[in-house]
């Protein structure tokens, strides 16, 4: 009798194990998990998290991805490489995220790419350093899971700034001398190195190149100096200083006979005009990330910013929101494409890389922006894809003024300019 019981128990165990092993892959999966990672104490990370959650809410309302409900797990980099890699690993291995979205800040991104390669996790990423895409170029098998979705490679800033000068000249505002004010930070060095020859080709001279530390506020002296040097425009290249608002305020107060036109990250903020008491009027800036609240380049972008406002009570606080939102839909698209093509596991990152690579110059996908990838998985730059649109604050609204294919406004010169 005892033997019979033992045999019966053994049989049940074997049957149970066999049954478990025989479960098809699809039945094991109960949901799709999307990880979002970023610095959650600052607007960039917060915007990424909110945008991903909004996209997931919309997708779940439409039945999820291949019928699976989508869940979001969040990691906080705290803008620290060690924390970021730990959090990435947690999302990938403990939370079992199928894809991770976000990042922000190039140094942190570089560190996370190693964890990504180790865990073989698909990473639809933010940050702008050219070195990230170079890694994919140099060691494709290791880093192929990385795709830059949020914004263009930082080296394209020089192209945008040169185009800005060309556009101003074509619009009748003569630019011969430029006074540069830029962050005392490693990110601006390649920009200025690439920009100098482009300006020289146009016969434009940089009369002074001033580096400023983080938190710098004494711009009035620099503005007066630029005017004394007969500069035609002050070109800020500012993201880290955090004081672009002070620059625009002092420029609008002193009303020098020169334009303020360049890359000022703070000017992208939809509330910038209000926060500067309207002093931002006439500032020309480039819309990092390829989208603006008041000038959405696609219909989906228009719907997104309104849905974002309806859900959170305000417009996206950072351009990272567009990239994060697009990344969720991009992931859904490639999983569905893989399933349609009969892939054995349509969630396999190695499979999905191939489907993401199909979005190239001749086959872009239109989401909040028009997205395509280069061979090194960098986001494609150009008028027909994503670029930092040349934009201007005019009477409380942001307008794209160049290129004509997306422009919704025209250049307006400040009334105090006499040229």
């Amino acid at each position: 009798m005892r033997h019979a019981k033992a045999v019966l128990t053994l049989l049940i165990l074997v049957a149970a194990i066999t049954a478990l092993c025989a479960q098809p892959e699809k039945a094991e999966r109960e949901k799709v998990i999307i990880g979002v990672i970023g610095p959650m104490a600052v607007p960039e990370g917060q915007a990424e998290e909110k945008a991903v959650k909004l996209a997931v809410e919309e997708i779940n309302a439409q039945g999820g991805i291949l019928g699976y409900k989508v869940e979001v797990v969040v990691g906080d980099t705290k803008l620290d490489s060690n924390t970021a890699t730990s959090e990435f690993r947690r999302l990938a291995t403990v939370e079992n995220a199928d894809v991770i979205i976000g990042g922000f800040s190039s140094g942190v991104m570089t560190a996370m790419m190693e964890t990504m390669a180790e865990t073989k996790t698909l990473f639809l990423a933010d940050a702008s350093s050219p070195s990230h895409a170079q890694k994919v170029e140099q060691n494709y098998e290791k880093y192929k899971y990385w795709f830059r979705v949020s914004q263009n490679n930082g080296s394209t800033f020089a192209l945008d700034l040169a185009d800005m000068v060309k556009f101003l000249r074509d619009s009748g505002y003569e630019v011969k001398k430029v006074y540069v004010i830029r962050d005392e930070h490693v990110w601006t060095d390649p920009v200025i190195e690439a920009l100098k020859p482009l300006l020289e080709e146009m016969g434009v001279k940089i009369v002074k190149d001033v580096k400023i530390p983080r938190g710098y506020s004494e711009y009035e002296q620099l503005i007066l100096e630029a005017e004394n040097l007969n500069a035609d425009l002050i070109m800020p290249i500012l993201a880290i200083s955090g004081t672009g608002d002070i620059l625009v305020k002092q420029w609008a107060t002193l009303k020098p006979n020169l334009l303020l036109a360049g890359h000022d990250l703070s000017a992208i903020d939809a509330e910038f005009y209000e926060k500067t008491n309207g002093m931002a009027n006439y500032e020309i800036f480039i819309a990092d990330g390829g989208a603006l609240v008041t000038a959405p380049p696609t219909e989906k972008c228009r719907e997104f910013v309104e849905a974002y406002k309806a859900k959170y009570g305000h417009y996206p606080e950072s351009h990272q929101a567009y990239g994060a939102y697009d990344a969720v839909y991009l992931y859904k698209m490639v999983v569905e494409m893989a399933a349609e093509n009969g892939e054995k596991d349509p969630f396999d990152p190695d499979v999905l890389v191939k489907y993401l690579e199909r979005f190239n110059a001749s086959n872009p996908v239109q989401l909040t922006r028009t997205i395509a990838f280069y061979d090194n998985h960098d986001l494609m730059w150009g008028d027909e894809y994503v670029r930092n649109w040349i934009s201007q604050w005019q009477d409380g609204k942001q307008y794209i003024i160049y290129p004509p294919s997306v422009a919704n406004g025209e250049l307006k010169l400040p009334p105090w300019i006499q040229k």
Binding site: E184, I212, G215, L224, P256
Partner: protein
């Protein structure tokens, strides 16, 4: 050349005047109650943020400024209440005031985000002095700072209440023995200092802009200036504020913006090596 000198004179004076308001209060608190108030920067930024918010809500600028100053005074009272039980333990005072400052910074971050905000200036327009353009608001700030600092000096040295503050500063036990309510003096100084910092913050936000991080910057400047002037020396702090203002402006003009804070801090270290008690400090 003359233009450069005028520019240095004007810009240095304004920067010095604003930091003078911040540092004099910081110095006064240390002189009277021996407290290193790490929450001093909280009053500086909070007043400006409140003034900004109220102006945006449609209130008049002067009402908004008044409300900002009231908030600064309340912060002074809160810091007084928080530090009273731990006043004898210097490390605890630093921890408590620093924790409060970080709490205020986080609240501002949540309410206003990390971008800067500007307060509408009292006066608009630009003047030209010796060929140098300078905004009316800068000139007014300098005048207001000088009025406040002079009033503070007169209050401390000429009025009965001010003399009680000075007596408490020199020897609080002796002051208590002659019947001075030193707790009232501590509270008065804390509120007065916070008001000065709050007013400086509003002027700063009218010329520049404030964000939550500026509170730490204001604290570092106040600390550096007070040490340079001599801990507890009111006149030393005011003189040091102008020295720092001029170092900053001269460096920007002659060496470049990137070196401004580096040269300022290097000069302070050099002066302290030669005179460890600061310019106007005395050895205890």
């Amino acid at each position: 050349m003359i233009e450069t000198l005028i520019k240095i004179f004007l810009f240095g004076a304004v920067v010095g005047g604003i930091w003078g308001l911040v540092a004099s209060g910081f110095s006064l608190i240390f002189g009277v109650s021996r407290i290193l108030n790490f929450a001093h920067g909280a009053a500086f930024v909070s007043s400006a943020f409140l003034a900004y918010a109220l102006v945006n809500e449609g209130y008049s600028l002067y009402f908004a400024v008044l409300a900002g100053l009231m908030l600064a005074a309340v912060i002074g009272v809160v810091v007084y209440a928080l530090t009273k039980p731990v006043r004898e333990r210097e490390v605890m005072v630093i921890i408590v005031t620093l924790a409060f400052a970080l709490l205020v910074q986080q609240i501002l971050l949540i309410l206003f985000g990390d971008r800067g905000v500007s307060v509408e200036p009292f006066v608009k327009g630009v003047a030209e002095i010796g060929g140098v353009k300078v905004t009316h608001m800068r000139l007014l700030s300098f005048v207001l700072a000088i009025i406040c600092l002079t009033a503070l000096e007169v209050f401390i040295t000429k009025t009965n209440l001010g003399k009680k503050v000075m007596a408490t500063s020199q020897d609080s036990r002796a002051a208590m023995m002659v019947g001075i309510d030193i707790e009232k003096m501590f509270l008065l100084v804390m509120v007065l200092s916070s008001l000065l910092a709050g007013f400086a913050g509003i002027l700063y936000a009218q010329i520049f802009a404030v964000n939550s991080e500026v509170s730490l910057r204001a604290l570092i400047y106040a600390f550096a200036i007070v040490i340079l002037g001599g801990l507890g020396s009111l006149r030393g702090s005011i003189a040091a504020s102008f020295i720092v203002g001029y170092i900053l402006v001269i460096t920007i003009t002659l060496l470049g913006a990137r070196w401004s804070e580096f040269v300022m801090l290097l000069t302070i270290v050099a002066i302290l090596v030669v005179k460890p008690t600061g310019l106007f400090g005395v050895e205890e």
